[in-house]
Symmetry: C2
C-alpha cells in the first residue's frame, strides 16, 4: 500500500527530516486486521508517552484519525507509523515551531512460519548488549543501532528471535519482542526502566494476567532465572506470542507450556478485537 | 547548495531508508574552504572505522571523489555527509545485497559570534547523561537522541556549548564538540571507549601536540579535574577551538590561556590547509 506523510501519499521524505539526521522520533508497528488497527489505544498511549519524554509536540487525535483511515484502506497487514520532530537545518537544536511529521507505511501480514506460534522457536544468544539510558528506556524511538547489530549476529533460521541482555548481563528482551518467563505459575518479565522497549503486547498481558489469576513480577532477570524457568515465551503486537523452546547457547529447552498457551489465546483475542 | 544522493541531485530520501527507520548509518560534518574539504583524510578514516564497526559496505574511494567534487562546487561552507545502510523493508535485518547510500548536504559557513573564538564561551551543565555503549563509542553514528535532549536543555545564548557527562558522572564531551582541559601544561581529554564521539579535530590535536612539546593524557575525567583545570577549551572540525571561560553551574571560570591560544592557531591552520 502507498505510504503517507502527514496524511498525503508520499514515497520520500525531505532530506532535512530529523528522523534521518538524528533518529529524532518514535515509531509504532501496528497489526491491522479487518481494516482496524489492533491495540490502537495502547499504541497511542505509548506514542504519547514517547512524545512527552522527547518533547515532540503532536496532535494525537489527528494521528488516531489517520491510523484509522490508513488501516481501513490497508485491510489486512501491518502499518508502521513513524513520528519525527519534523525538519530542521544542521544542528541538534530543533527549528523553532517545527511541526512533527507523521509517516505511515503499510505492508502485508508477515509470512512467519506457522510453526513459530504452534511448536515454538529457538532463541539466539546475542552478544550485543543494551546500554542503560533511563531517559530513553521503554520508548520505541528511532535510535535502534543496538537492535540492528544484534539482529546481524545470526543467520540460522532455527532461531526466530535473539535474547538481548543489558551491559550488566540482565535479561531484557528479544530483538523484536518482549521476553516472559514462567516459574511456579508466576509470570516474570524484565524491568524496563534502564533500557528496552516497553512493548504494547507486554503491557496488555501484564494488565490481563491478574484477572486470569496469574501472578506477575516485574524486576531484574538474570541467567539463573532463565535456567530455572518452566516456560519461556516472547511477544509482540504483530504476532502475539511465540513459545520459546530452545536456547542452544546454554543447552536449555522448555515445553510450550500451559500458561504460555493460555496467554497465547489471550494475545490472539487482543489482536483480533 | 543542492543536496546529492549517490552523486545525483536530490531533495528527498526514500521512505525505506534505514537511516530514517533506525538511525542505521553514520555522518561527517566537514568544513569546506576554498573549494576543498578540510581534514578530509581524517574524516574518511573515521567514516571507514564506523563502517567497519557497523558492517556497512561502502566504496570509500567513491565517497572521497564525491566529497571533492561537492566541495569544489560549494566553495565555502560546511558539507554534511550521511552514509546509511541503504533501503530495506520492515525489520532490523538488512536486505541482502542492499547498497549503502551516500547523502551530501551543503550550507554556508555557520555565523558563529566572533567572540566565541576570541573571548571564549560559557559552558552549560547538561543533565542528560550519556549511556555507556562500547560497541558504538567514538563513532559519529545517526543515533543522536542524547545530543538532541541535551541541546534542548538550554536557551541562554551566553552558553555556546553544553558539557555532557556519562551515566557514571565522567566528563565526556560537549554536545557538538570534544572537551580538553589543561593542567600544569598537560593536555587532558576524555577516554572515549565507552561513549562519546571521537572528533576529527580532537584526533588531529592529539597527534599534533607531542611535536609542540605538549604532553597529552587521555583518561577518565571527573568534576575535580574541571575544578583544578588551568584552561578549558572545546573543539570541532567546523570552528576549530573555542576557549571555555565560564561554567556557571559550579561558579568556575578560566582565562583563555596560552596553551589554548597556541592550539587554536594550530586548529586554524589544520582547517585552512
Amino acid at each position: 500500500m502507498h505510504s503517507w506523510i502527514d496524511g498525503q501519499p508520499a514515497t520520500a521524505v525531505n532530506l532535512q527530516n530529523r528522523g534521518l539526521a538524528y533518529g529524532d522520533g518514535l515509531f509504532e508497528t501496528i497489526a491491522v486486521r479487518g481494516g482496524r488497527p489492533s491495540l490502537l489505544s495502547r499504541h497511542l498511549e505509548r506514542l504519547a508517552l514517547g512524545c512527552e519524554r522527547l518533547a515532540i509536540d503532536i496532535d494525537l487525535a489527528l494521528v488516531r484519525d489517520e491510523l484509522l483511515r490508513y488501516a481501513s484502506q490497508l485491510g489486512e497487514g501491518v502499518a508502521k507509523l513513524i513520528v519525527t520532530r519534523g525538519d530542521s537545518q544542521r544542528g541538534y537544536a530543533p527549528a523553532p515551531g517545527a511541526l512533527a511529521r507523521r509517516i505511515l507505511q503499510g505492508g502485508p501480514r508477515p509470512a512467519y512460519p506457522a510453526g513459530n506460534a504452534e511448536q515454538g522457536i529457538g532463541l539466539f544468544d546475542c552478544q550485543t548488549r543494551l546500554a542503560q539510558q533511563p531517559l530513553l528506556a521503554g520508548l520505541k524511538h528511532l535510535n535502534r543501532l543496538e537492535q540492528v547489530m544484534a539482529r546481524a549476529e545470526w543467520q540460522d533460521s532455527a532461531c526466530a528471535e535473539g535474547l538481548m541482555r543489558d551491559v550488566q548481563g540482565h535479561l531484557i528482551e528479544g530483538v523484536y519482542s518482549n521476553l516472559f518467563l514462567v516459574r511456579d505459575g508466576v509470570l516474570l518479565t524484565a524491568d524496563l526502566s534502564r533500557c528496552g522497549v516497553a512493548g504494547v503486547m507486554r503491557a496488555a498481558l501484564l494488565d490481563e494476567a491478574p484477572a486470569l489469576g496469574i501472578e506477575v513480577r516485574t524486576g531484574d532477570l538474570v541467567q539463573a532465572d532463565l535456567e530455572a524457568a518452566d516456560e519461556v515465551f516472547v511477544c509482540n503486537s504483530v504476532y502475539g506470542i511465540w513459545p520459546v523452546r530452545t536456547f542452544a547457547a546454554l543447552n536449555l529447552d522448555w515445553p510450550a507450556g500451559p500458561l504460555t498457551r493460555k496467554l497465547q489465546a489471550v494475545a490472539r483475542t487482543l489482536l483480533d478485537t
